[in-house]
Symmetry: none
Subunit: 211 residues, 4 copies
């Protein structure tokens, strides 16, 4: 049960033996290819096995179910959030938001994420992995940039950074899921500008305009 390997190193000193790394790669790439061709629901473990010239047991040996397999296949395809310090917080944040828009607006995520979230309802481990490996990881990187903005005074001390990021991601995901669009660069810039001007804060009470 549970995932057995996360990374695909050449040799795993104490983990499971995976003789044929080639098989693993073939499975993951076949999964991605068929996912694009068939969508998540018509994707089947048996079909992937056949297409990848692999026994079903070989798939089940490494992944507990279709969701875990697809999660692994998609995860490695996502772009990294840029965290480099370029001196200008506004521009750093815009870059972060553009990457988030790219991620949450990508067809792959649109195709896969709802299915995974749905399956996660009956599979707590999948839910945990989704949250930790997909969501939180990107968020942790984004927080680095926003924290720096707070330090620089580009954002108030009591900015609810988590709310800011979830709000942005939420908007992007919402648009992606229900309208099949991703935020264009201008909209991202407007969104960032508006939020920087007056972000949600952690302290209660009415809030004056940021400044």
């Amino acid at each position: 049960m549970g995932q057995k390997r996360i990374l695909s190193p050449v040799s795993d000193e104490r983990g499971q033996r995976m003789r044929d790394l080639e098989a693993r790669e073939r499975i993951l790439s076949t999964t991605l290819r068929m996912l694009g061709a068939l969508g998540y629901s018509r994707l089947s473990i048996g079909g992937i096995a056949q297409e990848a010239a692999v026994g079903k047991a070989t798939i089940y040996r490494s992944w507990a179910n279709k969701a875990a397999l697809v999660l692994d296949a998609v995860r490695v395809q996502l772009p990294e959030v840029p965290v480099a310090d370029i001196g200008d917080s506004k521009e750093e944040i815009v870059a972060v938001a553009e990457t988030l828009a790219e991620i949450y607006g990508s067809p792959k995520v649109r195709l896969v994420l709802p299915a995974l979230v749905s399956d996660a309802a009956a599979d707590p481990d999948l839910g945990r992995r989704l949250r930790e490996e997909l969501i939180e990881q990107r968020k942790k990187q984004s927080v680095v940039v926003l924290d720096r903005a707070v330090e620089r005074g580009a954002l108030p001390q009591d900015t609810d950074i988590s709310a800011v990021l979830d709000m942005w991601a939420g908007l992007m995901l919402f648009r992606s899921l229900f309208y099949s669009v991703s935020l264009d660069k201008q909209s991202v810039r407007n969104l960032v500008s508006a939020t920087l001007a007056s972000p949600p804060r952690t302290t209660s009470g009415d809030q004056p305009p940021a400044g």
Copy 2:
């Protein structure tokens, strides 16, 4: 055999005669009950039929598939967005946002929405119904209140109302899906305050604080 049916036959939304309204009700309520007990994925048409003491064909006669049935079952349970003019736009908007938080944060939506969105990838009609009957309908009501706020000057003329609403809904849904929480009243109030202070706008370029 005692007399059972009291209600007279009417047409259902597909325009077909539905002799046994009681059966329809039994199907919908059984669906909701089993949905709570089993989750979406373990829910089956056959199981609902058996539990509701109804033939499978009776279900298929009214709904094309599990998703359509569940959509109907859940739709009627959702609260209405309050659009009444109470004189205070801020309070009206907070009431709207609280209702949205209740909807998107409810366990039922959390359980069902990702599955429906997922299924919609292979069923355009389902996607359309999801958007029109679940999303847009609430949004249309919310827009009424926000439009009134613009008229009153509580929001700038070029406020991107759609972005505001999708951003709020996105945040609520995001939190619900990945963290299984719904926004508490204080957070909603903070969110509304921050957004009113500086909402996203449709015009491009840097934006000064709203005022």
Copy 3:
């Protein structure tokens, strides 16, 4: 839509409704055909289902496993033991023995019986059915003829009729299983003659030659 089903529904031996007798017939005949072509071990439920254009569940609905299905398929093919009184016990018995030789020497039985007996080791119900429906039924018919021979004085009163029949069947089966031959008519006649001359008896102690 052309009418297809002519036969009325009946109950199968499991007491379940079997709507489509046509399917049942198709399954049984396909089983026999593939049994001849592949042998028992290479026969598979899935293969039969595919070949018979039938769902696997339809087979499992009526038969617990491959053995039960094959038993049913083969059972109905076996010839009846002739029990008619033709006045001459010797000739009646020879006719019985020839039928037994035909049964136990037939390729179908040779192919199937060891497999069924083997499976019966782990399936008591199959063992019971084998004994009752294949073995005992033929034996009961044969006993009629031998009992008549005892009445007529063609066999001694203390003839161990069961031993006689099992000995004959055993010889035929033994030759069939290990040498793939069935007893020819002359050998059957010789066997019967020898046994009639001095059959095994139920009373203990040394036996003088019959006569």
Copy 4:
């Protein structure tokens, strides 16, 4: 489960490898033990390998398949047919028949023989080994005794010795397979007496009582 090797592999002083022999013995004895515990069908090569703390390849190196392994394991357990000349043909033959009854009535044979015969249908080599190493070998020994009886005049010159032996073996096997019993000593004696009094013969035509 956690049983590891106790005995260490060593070479004996003559330079012969002990490891192979030890493994071979462990495989055969494990096979017999698990055969009794699980029956033939639930027995698996993988299971035997694990239980015997042996690689599967080590088994396949010596035996082509499960049937061949089991045949070897069982073969060595069977008692020898007594062929010694004790002066009294009747008693010699009874001893032979008792041994045959012991062999064909033993639980081990009952458990294994049908499975082997069944597998032999698709494996001619197995069929040959079954016939030669199990059946014919015992039969050859038995023939020695019966031939001596013919020489002594205890049986007619034209006695169909093969038929006699197959008939006896057939009866014993038949009773074992379908009724799970072995012939008791008295029945064996009765059977031998009856057959000696009038055995099947190779010459055709009606036969007078032997004498």
